[in-house]
Symmetry: C2
Subunit: 122 residues, 2 copies
């Protein structure tokens, strides 16, 4: 089951903090995304159907929490880009960002660090 782009905004909110009531989601996401109350209700319903979140009763209302983990989602999205766009190879992807000067000095440092670690682990 696929999480749509609007739905993923709601997931992000829940990954950042959970559980949250519909009301909380509405109050934070509404303004942030320019969504009406109903829109958020719909997204909640769809995410429940997709079993990306669960509802836990808390008296009259429900508290929602993610079922799909952020990591699973990130992995999924990344895989998809990698396969669709870069033929499954990582280096071209990084090269792309490098060429387009999307690599900040900090990114570079982190990358070096990362590569060193991987080398060590090898």
């Amino acid at each position: 089951m696929q999480i749509s782009s609007a739905e993923s905004m709601l997931m992000q909110a829940l990954w950042d903090r959970h559980p949250q009531s519909a009301d909380e989601l509405i109050r934070t996401l509404g303004p942030a995304q320019g969504w009406h109350e109903s829109t958020i209700k719909t997204l909640i319903t769809r995410l429940l159907q997709k079993q990306a979140i669960v509802a836990e009763k808390d008296g009259r209302r429900s508290l929602y929490a993610p079922l799909l983990t952020r990591d699973e989602w990130i992995a999924d999205q990344s895989e998809s880009l990698l396969d669709r766009v870069f033929g499954g190879r990582v280096a071209p992807l990084v090269a792309h960002f490098a060429e387009h000067r999307k690599l900040s000095r900090k990114d570079l440092a982190e990358l070096k660090q990362l590569i060193a670690e991987i080398d060590d682990a090898d």
Copy 2:
């Protein structure tokens, strides 16, 4: 205007070789993607509408060529993932692939090379 996933398959074919006639596209993509002739015709039409490709008359038929460049598309797709999933930062993205052992030895070598080059250019 957004290029859909099926449409991007057709774009890939045109980026690899252009111009191509509808017939050629049908004969290569049809089997490869399991698409019927009509499907490919539709995709061509939609891509023309989206101005992602152009038609150049060649007698009775047309030859199609990309207008949107592969690089533009790649940049677009990558940006989108980066923003939607990684908050716009590259290192976490690469870290993700590293953690999930998606980095082949070859990727690693290429990455090191890449970083060295960037460092030099600095």
